[in-house]
Symmetry: C2
Amino acid sequence: MPILRLALAQTNPRLGDFSHNSLHIVNTVRYAFDHGADLVAFGEMVLTGYPIEDLATRPDFLKESWAVLQRVAKDIADAGAGSIPVLVGFPHGPVDDVEHSAHSPSAIAYNSVAVLQDGRVIGIYNKHHLPNYSVFDEYRIFRPGHDAVVVHVAGADIALAICEDIWREGGPVAAIAEVKPSLLLVMNGSPFEREKDEVRLPLVQRRAEQVNAPVVYLNIVGGQDDLVFDGGSFVTNSSGKLLARAHQFVEQTLVMDIDLKESSSHGAQLGPGVAVIDAGYGHPQRLSRTPVHAEIAPQLEINEQIWDALVLGMRDYVEKNGFSSVILGLSGGIDSAVCAALAVDAIGPERVYGVSMPSRYSSDHSRSDADDLAERLGIHIRTESIADLVLPVEQQLHLEGISAENLQARIRGIILMGLSNAEGHLVLTTGNKTEIAVGYSTIYGDSVGGFAPIRDVPKTLVWELAQWRNAHARKKGLTPPIPENSITKPPSAELRPGQVDQDTLPDYDVLDAILDAYITERVGRDVIIARGFEPNMVDRVITLVDRAEWKRRQGAIGPKISQMAFGRDRRLPVTFTRN
Amino acid sequence: MPILRLALAQTNPRLGDFSHNSLHIVNTVRYAFDHGADLVAFGEMVLTGYPIEDLATRPDFLKESWAVLQRVAKDIADAGAGSIPVLVGFPHGPVDDVEHSAHSPSAIAYNSVAVLQDGRVIGIYNKHHLPNYSVFDEYRIFRPGHDAVVVHVAGADIALAICEDIWREGGPVAAIAEVKPSLLLVMNGSPFEREKDEVRLPLVQRRAEQVNAPVVYLNIVGGQDDLVFDGGSFVTNSSGKLLARAHQFVEQTLVMDIDLKESSSHGAQLGPGVAVIDAGYGHPQRLSRTPVHAEIAPQLEINEQIWDALVLGMRDYVEKNGFSSVILGLSGGIDSAVCAALAVDAIGPERVYGVSMPSRYSSDHSRSDADDLAERLGIHIRTESIADLVLPVEQQLHLEGISAENLQARIRGIILMGLSNAEGHLVLTTGNKTEIAVGYSTIYGDSVGGFAPIRDVPKTLVWELAQWRNAHARKKGLTPPIPENSITKPPSAELRPGQVDQDTLPDYDVLDAILDAYITERVGRDVIIARGFEPNMVDRVITLVDRAEWKRRQGAIGPKISQMAFGRDRRLPVTFTRN
C-alpha cells in the first residue's frame, strides 16, 4: 500500500492577474516540495481566477493563458521542484475542430486541469459536465471534455475530476470507478451558499463509495465580484469517513499523508477513453521523510459562516479592485451599522469612513446611534448635513411628496460619490435583500455605490447577524460593535416626519417568508397561499417584486449567500407585464 | 399539386402579458380565417413573449401558460375558426423525467410550438437546438427536443422547426429532408443585428435546397428590453427563389397561396422519431376562394434599418412599460439631438420633454442648438440652470477638478430623475456605445436613466445616422430634424472651460475602429496592431475598456444592433486585473 503525501493548495486566485497567480502557484509548490509532497494540487481555474465568463471566448486571452502555464512549469522546475506532478486549473484553448458547429459558436476552450512535471505540461484533463444554471454559464463559454485521466504517481493511480463532474449522476464517476483508482481528486470552484457544506460532504461520501477509493474535494477560496468561494477543502476515505478538512474562508495548503491502494494501471494504458499519465516516483526523499498527520478544522456555525463570507467578499472586492478605503452613509439604522461592522472586520477601522447625513426629518437618535457606532468601531466619521443642499433643488424644481423624499436620498448619493471621487474611497451601498427585492429604495439615491455588502441578506437575517456579531464580541470580552438601539428601534428611512418602514411594507417576518418562497424556492402564488399567508398580502408582495426588476438591475453587486441572489440581474426580463 | 393558403402572422407579443397576447392571437386567426387561410402560423414563443429568461424555470408560470394555451384553442373554435390548424409558440412544461439530472436542474420546459385545432392542442414540436451564446441563454432554461413533427393539412406535409434548429449544420434539417416535406415552416424569435438579413436569406436558401421544398422563415417583431425583433419574415421556393417578404419593424399578417408538392405521409406515420399530425382538409371554402398573390416588401438600406430598429426598440420599451412620455437633457450636442429625434419618431413630439441644463461653462451654442433642435422637432423644452444647485454642494464638500466635473453631471441626473418622479416621464440617457465602452461618462450623472436609445451605437455611426435622418427628411421635403451645427461642431462634455472630447480620447474614427476589433470581433492587441494601429494607442484603448466594466454594469439597457452589445453586462467579470 503506497503512502502518498498530498499537498492540497486552497488558494485565492486573482481574476485575470497572471503574474500574481503564477507567482503564487510557484511559491506554493516550492513550499509543498520542501514539506516532502509527492503531488501538489490546486483548485479549478487557479491560473486565471474563476469564473472568467466571456474572457474564455477570447483567443488572445487563451493564448496568453497557455503561454503562462508553460512558464509556470518552467519556473517550478527552475525552483528545483520539477520532479513532482503539479495539477493546475486553466482554460484550455483556443481549439477549432469538427465538434465546433454542434455547440455554442463562442465556446473555443475547455475547462481543464494541466499536469505539470519536469518543466512542461505532461497531460490535460478536460471537464465533462458544464454547469449552466444558477450563477454558472459554462455551457456558453466552454466545450465538454470526453476522456478520463489518471495520473500514475509513486505506485498510485489518481483519477481526476472537476467540480460539476461529480454532481451529476451518470457523470464520469461511473467510468472512473471502472479503472479502480487509488484516489479520486476533484478540483472545485464552488461558491459559498448557506448550508452548502451540508450538501458537499454527503455527495463526496457517496462518490467515495462508488469509486471505492478516498476522495479529495479541493476548493478555491476568496471573493470574486458577487461570488465567495469558501475553501473548506476536505478528504474522505473510501467509506466516506472524514480524514482532513481545511479552514473555511482562508488560504491554506493542507499537507497530509494518505494510505492508498496499489495502482491497477501500473503506468500502462487502461482502455479506450482513459489516458494514463505517468508522473514518476513522487518526492525524491519520500522514503526517508517523517510522517505528517492531517488536520480536521472545526466547522463554523451558520451565522459565523455567513458573516465570514460577507467579510471575505468585501475584503477581496476592495483589495482586488485596488481601493485603499471604503465610505458609507451612517443613518443610525441597522443596515448601515452591520455594513460598517463588516467593513471593519474586512479591512480594519482606519480604512472605513462613515458619513452622517442628517436632514430636517432626522431624529436625534439617528445621529447619536451613528456616533455610538463609529466610536465602538473606531472608524472615521464626519457629518454633512443635507438640509442646505436639498432646499435649492426642491425649490427650483418644485418637488414635493415622494419626489422630494427621493431627492434627499439622491443628495446623499451625490455626497458619497463626491467624497469617493475626491478622496478615492469605494462607496458601500447598504441596502438589504428584502428592500432590494421589493424596490424599497431610491434609484441613484441610497442605491448608489460600488459594492453592496448585504445585498443578498434578508432584513430578518440582518438583525440576526447583528445579534450574533455582538454576542461573538461579548464572548471574547470585547465591546459589541453594533449599538443596541440600532437593533431594537423600528426601522425607518426618515424621509418624512414619523415615517417607519411598516407604513409601506408588511412586517419583515412575513415579508421575508414570502420573498424566500417566491424568489429562492421559486414557488408561485397558490403554493404560498396554501402555506397560510393572506392572499392579498401574497399578491402585494409578488407585484412589488415583479415591478422592482429595473431598480435591481441598476444596483451594485454583493456577496452571494443563497441559491437565488439578484446578482444575475438580467435573468428576469424587465418589461414583464404578467398580472 | 395542392395549393395551400398560408397566413404568416408576424406579431409583436408582450412579455408575460397573457391576456394581450392571447386576444391578439385569436383576432389574428379570425382575420386569417376570413381571408381563406388553410393554416395560420405565429412566431417563436408568441404566447408569452420572448425571451422569457428565468420565467421559463418557474412551474407556476409554465402551468399558467399551458392553461392559457388551452383557452386560446377554445376561443379560436368559439370564433368559428377551429377547423384550420394554428401554430403557436409557447414554453412547454413543467416536465420532470429521467433526463432531468443530465441537464441543467433549472430547465423544466421545452421551447415549443403547439398545433391547435378544433378547440384543443393536437400536437407539439419541441425545439432541438438551444442557442446559448451571444444574447441567448436557452440551454440554461430549456431542454432539447428530439422528435421531428410534420403537420399534414390539405394534402401537404408541413415540417416544423424553430429558429436555431436551422442554423446548425447536422441539425434536424437532415431528418426533415428524409421525410420529403411539402414545406418547411420555421418559427423564429430572431433579433435584429446590422446586416443580419444578409445572412438569413442565404441560410434559408441552402435549407430549401437541402429539403427540396419551399421554406417559410417567420419572425416575431417588436422591442423587448435590449432586443429588437425586426420581422422581415419571408418565403422561398425549393430552389431558394424569394416568393414573399413581409416588412421589417411592423406587425403584418402575410397571406399567400403557395403551390406545394403532394404529401408523402398521406397522414400516416413516417417512421420512428417523426410524429405526423393530421390537421384536416384546410379552409372549408378552399376550393372556391379567389387566389391571392404574395407581396415582396422592398428592402430598407442599412441606415434606415438601424434607425427603424432604434425607434421600435424605444417605442416598445416606453409602451410596454406603460410610460406616457420621456424626458432627456438637451446639451446641444449630437448624442442628445439624435436621441430626441429617435424619441419623436417613436412616440411623437408631444410626448417628448427636453431639458436644457446650462452651467457656468456652457457655451452659447449649447443653448441655441438645443432650442433649435426643440423647435425643429416640436417637442417641449424647459431650461433648468444648474449653477445655483452645484455651488452649495461644491462649497460644502470642497470639490474641485474631476470631482467637481462629475458633480455637474450628477446634479443634471438629479434634475431629470426629480422631474421624472414628479411628472411620470421615463428618463432617456443619451450615452453612445463609444463613450460607454471607454467609460467616458459620470456614473449616476449622465448615465442616469431608464432607457439608453444609442447605447449600442458607436459615435461615428451617431453622426452617420444624424446625416441619414436629415437627408431622409429633405428627400420628403420636410425640415431636417437635427441642427447642422450639432453635427459639425467638435464634441464636448462642457464640464470645464474649452473642454473637448479629444482632450481625453483618441479621434473617434480611430477609437471606433479599435473598439470594433476588440469588442465586436474579439481580437486581441497583436492582431489590432498588425492592422496598422499604433501600439500605444491600442494599449490605451484596451485599458480603458477593461476598466470601464463597472460603469457599464450600472448603466441602463438599450436596443441591440450588433453581435456584442453591452446589454449582457455581467458577461465580463468586474474585478479583472489583466495587465
